[in-house]
Amino acid sequence: MVSHYPERSLTSASMSPRTLFNTTMTGVAFICGVLALVPLVAVLSYVIIKGFGSLNFSIFTELPPAPLRKGGGFGNAIVGTLLMVGIASLISIPLGVIAAIYLTEFSSGKIARWVRFATNVLSGVPSIIAGVFAYGIVVLTLVRLNLGSYSAIGGGFALAILMLPIIVKTTDEALQLVSNDLRQASVGLGATNFQTVTQVVLPAALPAIVTGSTLAIARASGETAPLLFTALFSTFWPNSLFQPTASLAVLVFNFAISPFQNWQSLAWAASLILVLMVLITSIFARWATRQKA
């Protein structure tokens, strides 16, 4: 007896339009993935090749040279970047962490929802707007008080505005991951809210908070736009918080668009250092959180 069971119905026909479509789309998806990685490889390889070519030790210790002169470096820009990111961290980390404590520990749903909403919207504010804002708040105030105008303080303030939402968000998430048993145990032993938060909850969430802050710092150190007219630029070592201050990012911008060969090669070197700083911190931060999880 011959079986009438349709043999091929359960396996897909290799040339049917449906299968062809399926295969084609898989190919398209892979092409998309490759296209997404092309810019990363292209940018990284160029920055590394060009940057290493102009890297040497004096870059960290010397001041920017005059156009067309050999040698020189951008030690002042490295110090300036660290200085301004430091100021920004001093403002944004305490403010952000304490605000996030309210969101997870003490808030009732509605206020927290609005604050989280505002934080998310704040993280979408263009960085140059943060610069305009800092110009209005810090630079103009310093002018009015006769203390100066463009300065490290202004730059730090602008960067703090950009770091704040990142820190609130990561701390908020970190605190939410702390198990409620810990809080209940602490309160059950008679601890006050303050003691519970500072001695039980914060220590438990500390690694994640540090990771988030590191990422925020890495992000801030690459920001250029808000520094253009708050910190301006300077070719000297920073010696006061109330004076124009150099930063790596602004140096890259100024020197890359200059017509001078030696400045352009310094711009590549500074790009390399910026990229390395950002990449190493991101990689390290991701690795640290993944280890813990």
Binding site: S12, R18, T19, F21, N22, M25, T26, A29, F30, I31, C32, G33, A36, L37, P39, L40, A42, V43, L44, Y46, L95, A99, A100, I101, Y102, E105, A112, V115, F117, A118, T119, N120, V121, G124, V125, P126, S127, I128, I129, G131, V132, F133, Y135, V168, T192, A218, G222, E223, T224, A225, L228, A249, V252, A256, W268, V275, V278, L279, S282, R286
Partner: protein, 316 residues
């Protein structure tokens, strides 16, 4: 015995008094800080509006329709910049959305082994971590020379088409759009991937069980289910593209003329600010603040819409 318990009860009472007020103070402190973070948004708006006030009074809404930018005569309008901001962002999205969503699909389904997928996700995230100014430098020295050759070819053979009607001048709308595509791609990929992953796997199984192929499932089940997530990803990317400053400033050419050609230089609000703010004085500062306010409002609308979509999706 009696005194002992008295001490104890007074100790508890004392501590509870001081402790309570300390505690209440601490909660209030955190509440004030949280509200301060939210208020920053308002503070930025007010501060920028105050700075812009002289220009708002002088030009009113005609500021948006006027295309002169003349510091010598104190006449200002931002029509070319608004045009450039929107068009360059749209070009960026036009390139980034298909590639980004495609990558998100690749990274959310099991096309690749899990370990390879993790590495790819990480690499795409790295793309977001590279500072904007570095993209600008790369664009100037690598992207523009390549695009110049392509642009010259396009202009020679397709010059009759308005989009390629001018010979390439180096910087222009096209390089700026491409760099925006690169910079918004990680956002689109990351958020779309989250949306696709959070589609319940029972939907997937049901579709496959009915005999759909993998891609029929993706197009007819997964993408519709994750659609609002993908839309909000695109909106967030649009907001980011409109506010992006450094890379665009270095690649767009900063010409205050409106041209239909993709190869012609253009300008955006943020690059106008980046170029002129430090050297501006008097009414020009107010006009720049006004331009900043326009940009702020534009990105705010886009971001708030995106957030609302996300919130609505989360509640469902």
């Amino acid at each position: 015995m009696a005194t002992n318990s008295q001490n104890l009860s007074s100790a508890i009472k004392n501590r509870s008094d001081i402790g309570k007020s300390l505690d209440r103070g601490f909660i209030w402190l955190t509440r004030i800080f949280a509200l301060a973070v939210a208020a920053t948004l308002l503070w930025i708006a007010i501060q920028v509006a105050i700075g812009a006030w002289p220009a708002i009074q002088k030009f009113g809404l005609s500021f948006l329709a006027n295309s002169t930018w003349n510091p010598v005569k104190d006449e200002y309008g931002v029509l070319p910049q608004v045009y450039g901001t929107i068009i360059s962002s749209l070009i960026g999205l036009l390139i980034a959305v298909p590639i980004g969503v495609g990558t998100a699909i690749l990274l959310s389904e099991n096309f690749l082994p899990a370990k390879v997928r993790l590495v790819l996700v990480f690499l795409v995230e790295l793309l977001a971590a590279i500072p904007s100014v570095v993209y600008g430098v790369w664009g100037i020295f690598v992207l523009i020379p390549i695009l110049n050759n392509i642009g010259r070819w396009l202009n020679t053979y397709f010059g009759w088409f308005p989009l390629f009607s001018t010979p390439p001048t180096g910087p222009g709308m096209l390089p700026a759009g491409i760099i925006l595509a690169i910079m918004t791609l990680p956002i689109i990929t990351a958020i779309s991937r989250d949306a696709l992953i959070s589609v319940p796997s029972s939907l997937r199984q049901a579709s496959i069980g009915l005999g759909a192929t993998r891609w029929e499932t993706i197009f007819q089940v997964l993408i519709p289910a994750a659609f609002s997530g993908i839309v909000s990803a695109v909106m967030l990317a649009l907001g980011r593209a409109m506010g992006e400053t450094m890379a665009v400033t270095m690649l767009i050419g900063n010409s205050n003329k409106i041209s239909a050609s993709l190869l012609a230089p253009a300008n955006t609000i943020s690059s106008l600010l980046a170029n002129q703010f430090a050297e501006a004085s008097g009414l020009q500062v107010a006009a720049l603040m006004y331009a900043a306010l326009v940009l702020f409002v534009l990105t705010l609308i886009v971001n708030i819409l995106a957030e609302f979509i996300v919130l609505r999706v989360k509640r469902v």
